[in-house]
Symmetry: C2
Subunit: 330 residues, 2 copies
Amino acid sequence: MTELTRRAALAGVAATTLMPLSMTPARANAPQADKQAPSFYRYNVGTHQITVVCDGVTVVSRPDNYVANASKDEVSKVFADNYMPADKATQSYSPIVVNTGSKLVVIDTGLGPTNFEQSKGRVGQFQTNLAAAGIDRNSVDTVIISHFHGDHINGLLAADNKSAYPNAEIMVPSAEWKFWMDDGEMSKGTGNPILEGNFKNARRVFDALGRKVTQYDAGKEIAPGITSVASPGHTPGHTSYIVASGSDKLLVQVDITAGAAFLFVKNPDWQLLFDVDKPLAVQTRRKLYDMAIAEKMPIQAFHAGFPGHVRVEKDGNGYRWVPALWNTSL
Amino acid sequence: MTELTRRAALAGVAATTLMPLSMTPARANAPQADKQAPSFYRYNVGTHQITVVCDGVTVVSRPDNYVANASKDEVSKVFADNYMPADKATQSYSPIVVNTGSKLVVIDTGLGPTNFEQSKGRVGQFQTNLAAAGIDRNSVDTVIISHFHGDHINGLLAADNKSAYPNAEIMVPSAEWKFWMDDGEMSKGTGNPILEGNFKNARRVFDALGRKVTQYDAGKEIAPGITSVASPGHTPGHTSYIVASGSDKLLVQVDITAGAAFLFVKNPDWQLLFDVDKPLAVQTRRKLYDMAIAEKMPIQAFHAGFPGHVRVEKDGNGYRWVPALWNTSL
């Protein structure tokens, strides 16, 4: 033992001896966790199995025109009334996986690895939660894209900028491809930073995939038991889905209420900044919700709080979501 | 190769050759899951960490007097309005774990291994979900029991009929111990099958533990930052809790609304069959909900749908729960 070490050791003993007991912090027998539970959830629609796989939640600064036709204060009040920071936008993102028995289908892909980095892990969690659900991305047969906003398409690419689903057919709405991949439409969008960003981002993602996609039309069965439903407004080719198996049906609404979606459930005439054709988005929203109510159809909502398995009901001039009870068995 | 085997092999080839392609069922690249996601969820209250650990959900046949002061049809309507089977009672069970930093505390224990067998795994999931949350039952320092109904105490015992928490102090409300463990009270309960069953079950559980418990009173800090709050009615010594850390507070309501709890949130004057002192249960329910509203306190509710982290608001003559948004990060 060197003198230095011996002295240090003696000093250590002295320090310990001198520290009163009350200063020794008690410790629980187990440490606190630093991670949330994996955020996935399953339910069946007939013989189809849905796995909701959350991509994350963001609490972001909110532009004053977040709702184009309501004042900042009106919008702040709804956030505060829902126990969220009044001056921010709190937003959830939940893609789903449908196992039809014959196909393993991913519908939308979340914000992907780039946004995972930017958000310090708050979003871009889809792949982690998919793996926690025991689903290998290499086993995915089909990826259906609803529309070309980044929170739906960015996750098509893995961290190496190659397909995150190397063995899957990528299916995109033909109306969406026609709009976002058209150079004429892109030049018309010049000067609108939201549109410009989305035009560029769609090209970034699909160019990395060599534009190898299958285009699909609305009103078709595009995978077993999964029918595309035109729901334009949020974007020109925005598409929802009906998953049907036996007598069971589910409306996969996607973004007919988007962003902090609960705002637009309560106030369906409000127009989200990101809706490309705002009056059409309002019309589509009311049409699909009225259909779901008339047909007593449950809904899977991308931007509802996870797991986003809800019913919609009329509530005054608007609607309200009724979340399904979490079931601990299948 | 024996003749038999060779013939069988040839027959196999023939059968395969003859089967038309359309008869070969397509298979997705991944099988469907047979299990739900592990049902646990975390959030922080100041520096205290809450882990909600679900014990399961039951859908059981409902006695006509499930609500003592409402008709079968009125009750059926509320279940149907909430998209649940009208003639059954759908009930969720969610104990919690609180890591105070210095103590790892379980509050209530679920239905335990016996009911796991009986329900074919629909309840008694607490230990499985606790393990999924990375919490070792041997690390638990303290188990706090709110009241002596089976869904709160049965999980004190493991499958071997010994303590499921061998290293923990078991804390019980003194008023609850006084009522259920008293032979005079037990004989007064004779002829009431619900009371009889609960008197016998409390003895079964606590006798197996050698009656080694610490009794606590209401209105005391019984673990760091955890204060007991008298909330009698559901049972004589039924206890709720306030978890406080820094400026954050949480009301752990336990069973001030019990069974299919949402019925009694909407109709707080309704009396659950299992409430021992029904008018007092109604009074306690309103008192604690009005307090939570006045103090803007979030609530953790044992019988709410998992995860049961909610706010309560006035709604006409009753209340409504507003579930907290699922957060994917801590």
